[in-house]
């Protein structure tokens, strides 16, 4: 199949960007979206033009490195999928495809489609952990955890930190990302002792990074490659209110 791409090109964080059109010809439907971009980049290098910079690593949908807005949708038209797992069979011959980076104040563009998601790391550093040191932990089976609880924690822990939720949100809110980590740890008995300070500190860090507010529209859930549920945001709000009350 042959496609026309309209790709966001931006030299670095201080320059302004623009869309540039490229032809992508002889694309196989079995290619992944990134393999299609590989083909385009090989062609650009052959012509002596700077290839399009984009982040990617595992290419199997788990590392969370890749991510671009494809025709206005974070990670493209297929639900529950990262960009690297999106295959060209979901596009049609002759289609025009617009490709942009994640757009959010907290994720400045570094180059072309590459953005800086360091804000996510800093939010985790504010409390997205259980403060256990290495060693001296009790046998794994001393704390039985009811399976439904454990499964629920795993549902939240499945987040890959790609940032699609932020890119999809009209307010560039990071609530789904933060709620996923708060819920993963606050649901589990091991995470309970730090439950209050975790949610208070992480929400504070999130606000300081410049992420917007949540209006519970659900765009984040709709694009999340791991289908993290909006329910976790409600859960975090409850934890947050409780923590405020207990620490007033």
């Amino acid at each position: 199949m042959n496609l026309t791409l309209r790709v966001w090109r931006q030299k670095n964080s201080s320059s302004s960007g623009r869309f540039v059109e490229y032809e992508a010809n002889d694309i196989s439907p079995d290619m992944s979206f990134l393999e299609m971009l590989d083909v385009v980049n090989e062609g650009l290098i052959k012509r002596g033009e700077d290839p399009v910079a984009f982040d990617h690593d595992c290419r199997e949908g788990i590392c969370g490195t890749c991510g671009m807005v494809i025709n206005g949708i974070a990670h493209g038209p297929l639900g529950a999928t990262t960009t690297c797992q999106l295959h060209m069979r979901h596009f049609s011959d002759g289609q025009l495809i617009a490709i942009e980076p994640w757009r959010a104040r907290a994720f400045p563009v570094i180059k072309d489609l590459v953005v800086d998601r360091g804000a996510f790391d800093r939010v985790i550093q504010a409390g997205g952990y259980i403060s256990v040191r290495t060693g001296g932990t009790p046998d794994g089976n001393t704390i039985p955890i009811p399976k439904p609880e454990s499964d629920r924690a795993m549902d939240a822990a499945a987040c890959i930190g790609c940032g699609a939720c932020v890119a999809a949100c009209k307010n560039a809110s990071a609530m789904l990302f933060v709620a996923a980590k708060v819920s993963h740890l606050n649901i589990l008995p091991q995470g309970k002792p730090e439950k209050d300070r975790r949610v208070l500190n992480m929400v504070k860090a999130m606000d300081e990074e410049g992420f917007g507010n949540c209006t519970v529209m659900g765009s984040c859930e709709a694009v999340c490659p791991k289908e993290i549920s909006l329910d976790f945001i409600s859960r975090m709000n409850r934890d947050y209110l409780g923590a405020l009350w207990r620490n007033r």
Partner: protein, 637 residues
């Protein structure tokens, strides 16, 4: 050079506790005076950086990814082994030790492997305390599954995302230490060289991948946790960024490279679809618990899988290895798949594939149980192939997956360069000639949480190293060399892209030095690689500048190192004139096609010393002594 593995004396089961008692400690107040550089933030690097910092050392941690949470450990699916014996099925530390030694085809060190089995139980406790959401039974207790190469059920898992959850545990422990000021994290920063002063590792030279700036970092010790070199085959299950550069640079500075020819080919990957293929995707080995592997009994069979009647199917793993069946170890299962495809009985486009069939399991357990166990893997399969594996069998084929070889280390995980430690997949130590499933996660975390943090203290306490000042001329000299190389890449302006060269090298390595190897093809390859390398340095095209984010430049550096490393890998494969584990020399096989070891001549670790690009390296042999286990031909029949 005399290789001393520094294995403690005494009975096997007491070596580690005795050693921990014998090694010198650093006074808690003095620990903050020591700086440690950790390169890599996967299971090994992340856990080591966090733990060293908890102990009080000043840690700098580097990764080329945009966040330490993205290292490729994250992609491990199936699980992590531990000798907990929660299932009451006869597991023990000794059994895990024995399975690992046997699985490695008797080419690993007894003492290291025993210690690995010993600390495996602590890892599970640690991870549970961190909040890793392992799978549980309805009782609330931890669940287990079985895995290839073992007859007990000792694998802990978190759905099909065990690596992700364990890595997030280590990443969160690291985040806690970053917040506390104990670790300074450098994401998007790639190590390009090692700096040694008076024979000791004293720092590294790195490139900031965003600004292109090249700088030095000094320390009292350097820890490499930079993963494996499976991308030497171009197509592999590794992430695109995985590379050999850090350990190759260390090798060129005098560290020994051990057993580079031990490369594991994983049997259950999604087959190649075309020339555009950029990587291969693994389907967890745990699928072999319930999936049955088969091909049609006769050649050139174009029927749909579901139309092929039972009597026309060859369940070749069950037929050849009745005791282990579909759970035969990885090297054996991979070669069996290659064999039936070589006979022309392979399925799918190109005939390089075999079926992995869940019809029986679905009949037995019901669709919901299978969905619960493997749902995310089936979805992944559908996403990539567009096929529904609940309705028709999956197609799988082996692919390069893990590398058992790596830098040589002693029992303390220190290389022959004092102060240079190597942990996780980057070292050679625990898996011999073949790694068992669910053991990579175990080793990475064992090294990082429970071994290195003890052993590194002994170096500080006995050697009392002094961190050099950054104005030491050696830093400047290495920085200049790195800058020179960058300039060279950008000045060639040839006619071929880096990817083209990498693809060409990878194909050569896969065809001639992959699942099966022989003297003639290895010798041909040794002639071909230097020619290809010369072509690369003459004709590669790297655009852009050095002082900006330049992904082609990063890639060129990695491929240039693969071009040198590949030669050593082949050289090692040629020298090891026996078959063992994943290293299959066609000249050495039993009448029914199994690997035939030659313990008389090859019961040693091959540790190679660098002599210059294109020069034959010097071989140092570390004899493998087995006091505990009896060497036997590995049988899974």
């Amino acid at each position: 050079m005399k290789l001393d593995a520094k294995i403690p004396s005494g009975p096997l089961a007491q070596k580690w506790s005795k050693h921990r008692h014998d090694i010198k400690l650093v006074n808690p107040a003095n620990k903050r005076k020591f700086d440690v550089i950790v390169v890599g933030s996967g299971l090994a690097g992340g856990s080591a950086a966090a733990t060293l910092s908890e102990l009080g050392y000043k840690v700098k941690c580097f990764c080329f990814q945009d966040s330490p949470r993205r290292a490729h450990s994250i992609a491990a699916q199936g699980g992590i082994n531990a000798a907990k014996n929660y299932q009451n099925d006869g597991d023990s530390i000794y059994r895990l030790f024995y399975d690992t030694i046997k699985g490695g085809d008797f080419r690993s060190r007894e003492a290291n492997v025993y210690r690995l089995a010993e600390v495996s139980v602590n890892i599970i406790d640690q991870c549970v305390a961190q909040g890793v959401p392992f799978a549980r039974e309805y009782s609330g207790y931890l669940a287990n599954r079985s895995f290839g190469g073992a007859q007990v059920s000792r694998t802990f898992y978190a759905r099909g995302q065990t690596g992700q959850q364990l890595l997030l545990g280590a990443y969160q422990a690291l985040a806690k230490q970053i917040e506390a000021g104990g670790v300074k994290m450098y994401p998007r920063t790639e190590m390009l060289d090692l700096v040694t002063i008076d024979g000791h590792a004293k720092g590294i030279v790195v490139r900031d991948l965003v600004t292109g700036e090249t700088t030095s970092h000094a320390a009292d010790a350097v820890v490499l946790a930079t993963g494996g070199y499976g991308n030497v085959f171009f197509l592999s299950t590794n992430a695109k960024g995985c590379n050999v550069t850090a350990i190759w640079r260390a090798y060129k500075r005098g560290a020994l490279m051990a057993n580079p020819c031990f490369t594991q080919i994983h049997p259950t990957c999604i087959p190649v679809t075309g020339d555009h293929q950029s990587k291969l995707t693994l389907m967890s080995e745990s699928l072999r618990n319930d999936g049955r592997v088969w091909v049609p009994r006769t050649k050139a069979n174009n029927r749909n899988a579901n139309e092929i009647p039972e009597e026309d199917r060859d369940y070749f793993l069950e037929r050849k290895y009745p005791a282990y069946g579909n759970l035969a170890p990885r090297d054996i299962a991979s070669r069996a798949a290659k064999e039936v495809c070589d006979e022309g009985r392979g399925v799918g486009p190109g005939g390089r594939g075999v079926y992995l069939d869940f019809a029986d399991a679905i009949k037995r357990f019901g669709l919901n149980v299978i969905r619960e166990r493997y749902g995310n893997l089936f979805e992944m399969y559908e996403r990539i192939t567009g096929e529904d594996a609940y309705k028709a069998p999956m197609r799988i084929y082996p692919a390069s997956h893990y590398t058992m070889g790596g830098l040589w280390v002693d029992y303390n995980l220190m290389s022959n360069i004092p102060g240079l430690y190597v942990i996780g997949e980057a070292n050679f130590s625990d898996h011999g000639a073949n790694r068992l499933g669910a053991s990579a996660l175990m080793q990475g975390l064992a090294d990082g949480y429970f071994i290195l943090p003890y052993t590194i203290g002994n170096y500080f306490a006995t050697e009392k190293p002094r961190k050099p000042a950054l104005d030491h001329p050696e830093f400047k000299r290495v920085e200049d060399e790195v800058a020179e190389r960058t300039k060279k890449f950008l000045s060639i302006k040839g006619g071929r892209t880096v990817t083209e060269f990498h693809r060409e090298l990878g194909k050569l390595m896969w065809d001639k030095c992959g699942m099966a190897r022989n003297e003639t093809s290895l010798k041909e390859t040794l002639e071909r690689i230097p020619v290809m390398r010369d072509e690369f340095w003459r004709d590669v095209n790297v655009l852009g500048e050095g002082n900006e984010l330049n992904q082609s430049l990063e890639y060129a550096g990695r491929v240039a190192d693969f071009m040198e490393f590949a030669e050593l890998l082949v050289y090692d494969a040629l020298t090891r004139d026996e078959s063992c584990g994943a290293h299959f020399r066609e000249e050495h096989q039993t009448p029914d096609g199994e690997a035939m070891r030659d313990d008389e001549r090859f019961s040693y670790v091959a540790a190679w010393e660098y002599q210059g690009v294109g020069q034959p390296p010097v071989l140092h042999k570390e004899p493998l002594v087995y006091d505990e286990v009896h060497l036997a031909q590995r049988s899974y029949k």
